[in-house]
């Protein structure tokens, strides 16, 4: 049995702020197996960025505190590792952000930036070695060839052209591909993509999605795809987790999850998307809870059209048919009204 690349179990994270303790992550259980792309879907404030930052190792640990649960990456329990060991794991994780301009330095050519990254990974992130290699002609030439290779992998027809350009001279879609190529440069085992196509035009998005699917299949990557766009999740992610107010409320194979949602929030989300057949979408009443004083029990209860008195307690995660799980009392046989 191969270890999952990522396994979060009943994770609970609190944030200590000057206003008090924000209970940002209440109960997150998530698994990513090798070779699969898993979607993490939710609206703003649900905690998906916190989860991403945790996996990337950049969640500031004060003020954030892991209060309960387990974080396992590449088969290792992070709490048993030292700081240096955890840093080692960062090498295997690549990040594709929403906004390419956040990562691509406008003052340097694509070639320069990709060579930087490649040599940095090659030197195993050792500063002195990096400086030496970065200035040795042979190493730089080799890195440049590799960069051209990577650009080819993301279906850039003319890598030389792109390598010579500055990021501002490239279109949005092209920049995103460069970003993907850079993410691949460290031969990662886990890719975390945070809304990588949101800023793109819809036709460009379509091609980027096709590229991503192809890439995942070829490179045998595991990935976490964070998005608020359910349609995109359906295209790319074999399985999807739906997050609300810090809890993974439902998960399962993406198609059935969207066609027949179990959790009332998932259902509300799907119905809120205008159907191509017409008609105003249905709305979800209420607002996201305040993390300083969240409702006890199910956090969706105040907004749930099917709420009943059992919802005062936090629902257990229940296995439903065909690899699906849901955190909702409606599906607990004993609790049902």
């Amino acid at each position: 049995m191969v270890d999952p690349v990522v396994r979060l179990t009943s994770l609970r994270i609190d944030f200590n702020t000057s206003d008090g303790v924000e209970q940002v992550i209440k109960d997150v259980t998530l698994r990513i197996d090798p070779g699969e792309i898993v979607g993490l879907v939710g609206e703003s404030g649900c905690g998906k960025s916190v989860t991403a930052k945790l996996l990337l190792g950049i969640l500031p640990m004060p003020p954030a505190v892991v209060k309960a649960g387990r974080v396992e990456m590449f088969g290792k329990d992070l709490s048993t590792l030292s700081g240096a060991q955890r840093d080692e794991l960062k090498k295997f994780v690549a990040y594709v952000p929403q906004d390419p301009s956040a990562v691509l330095n406008p003052s340097f050519t694509v070639a320069s930036q990709m060579i930087d990254m490649i040599i940095w990974y090659e030197s195993d992130r050792r500063l002195l070695e990096y400086f030496v290699k970065r200035h040795r002609r042979a190493d730089v030439a080799r890195a440049r060839d590799y960069a051209a290779d990577l650009l080819g992998k993301v279906y850039i027809a003319d890598p030389e052209y792109v390598l010579r350009r500055y990021p501002v001279q490239l279109s949005g879609g092209m920049r995103q591909r460069v970003l993907l190529a850079m993410a691949l440069s460290g031969s990662p085992q886990l890719m975390i993509a945070d809304e990588p196509t949101t800023a793109l035009d819809v036709t460009v998005q379509k091609r980027t999605i096709e590229l991503l699917k192809d890439l995942v299949a070829r490179e045998q990557l595991a990935g976490l795809y964070i998005t608020h766009d359910l349609g995109v999740a359906r295209e790319i992610c074999a399985r999807t987790y739906v997050m609300y107010a810090g809890t993974t409320v439902e998960n399962g194979p993406t198609g059935p999850l969207l066609d027949e949602p179990l959790h009332p929030y998932t259902r509300g989300l799907v119905e809120a998307i205008p159907s191509l057949a017409g008609g105003l979408p249905k709305t979800i009443a209420g607002q996201v809870p305040d993390y300083l004083a969240p409702p006890r029990g199910c956090r969706f209860a105040p907004r749930c059209p099917d709420v009943f008195d059992r919802c005062r307690d936090t629902p257990q995660r229940i296995d439903s048919a065909a690899h699906r799980q849901v955190s909702c009392w409606l599906y607990d046989r004993e609790a049902r009204p």
Binding site: S18, D19, G20, G279, L280, K282, T283, A285, G286, Q287, P289, D290, L292, A293, P295, R296, G297, A301, P302, R303, P305, V307, F308, D309, C311, R312, P337
Partner: protein, 306 residues
């Protein structure tokens, strides 16, 4: 098309709903929260404390000063240049006046100096910078080149020249410094306006037909106030310093006005023996300038966290 009821505040009523009432959290109000954040900067707090003390001393001087008569001409031959003692904690100067009293009254002049100078400088510099940034084109070029011209000459030299023209007096010194000091405010206002005028809310105001005056002073100005406040605070210290320098050079306050710079000047002949007459006013200047600087730094750090 079917319409659903929507309400941002109250969840739709449900028959079976047994829901914990949502309690609005007790959060510190905006002002108190910002205050506590500012207070985290210890040095800035020290600066504020010192400045508060200074202001209190300045305001209460006539009542708390030990020898209020010594502010004006007062000759006390027996006590000339006596060292610090119980009767005169800061000693006496070359005509026998109590240094402590004069230092206390001097605070009034220095703070007045800061206030008047900054008022003049801001009143000239900020509208100038706003107009230059907002209108652009030829007006911008003309205004900014004038600003550059004023910036080319060191403040003290220019202020000195103006004071000589107007005639040496403390008031003239304040005006002179104000006329020189506006340039940094103009530059800040200009740069900030350039960036803010692209913001959507400015476009909205324009499209609604708001006047240029409204856009500059009601839309843009409140959004550029932070760097201006930082600059005001940092400049206050230097304004005081320049004022004391002018007085020291004889172009500002004339004796017997108990202005610190003037006091340092007139007593410096007696250094190093009668050190107290020059030193204590000097320390007062130092504390004032440093307090303003600390506050300014604190404000800058506070705003940059936003």
């Amino acid at each position: 098309m079917a319409m659903t009821a929507i309400d941002d505040t109250v969840p739709a009523s449900r028959d079976l709903a047994v829901v914990d009432a949502e309690v609005a959290p007790v959060r510190k109000t905006g002002f108190r929260r910002r205050l506590s954040r500012f207070m985290r900067n210890r040095l800035a707090v020290v600066g504020i404390a010192a400045l508060t003390l200074l202001v209190l001393v300045a305001v209460l001087a006539p009542w708390i000063a030990p020898y209020p008569d010594d502010v004006a001409d007062s000759l006390n031959f027996e006590a000339v240049l006596s060292p610090p003692s119980l009767e005169h904690p800061m000693g006496t100067d070359e005509v026998g006046r109590d240094v402590l009293t004069r230092v206390m009254f001097g605070a009034r002049w220095s703070l007045a100096m800061a206030a008047i100078v900054l008022a003049i400088a801001v009143a000239i510099g900020v509208p100038l910078g706003l107009c230059a940034g907002y209108y652009g084109g030829a007006l911008e070029q003309v205004l900014m080149r004038i600003t550059d011209g004023f910036s080319a000459v060191p403040a003290l030299v220019l202020a000195l020249a103006i004071t000589v023209l107007l005639g040496p007096s403390l008031l003239n010194a304040m005006v002179a410094i104000g006329l020189v000091w506006w340039r940094s405010f103009a530059r800040i206002a200009h740069g900030q306006t350039l960036s803010k005028k692209q913001e959507n809310y400015v476009t909205v105001a324009k499209s609604l037909g708001a006047s240029d005056f409204h856009i500059m002073f009601r839309e843009i100005l409140p959004n550029i106030s932070s760097p201006l406040f930082v600059s005001i605070s940092l400049n206050a210290g230097y304004a005081v310093l320049t004022g004391t320098a002018l007085s020291f050079l004889g172009a500002g306050a004339r004796p017997p006005t108990p202005e610190w710079g003037q006091m340092v000047a007139s007593s410096r002949n007696y250094l190093p023996d009668a050190w107290w007459a020059s030193l204590f006013p000097g320390i007062a200047i130092f504390i004032t300038v440093v307090s303003f600087n600390l506050i300014g730094d604190g404000l800058r750090d506070y705003f940059s966290e936003d």
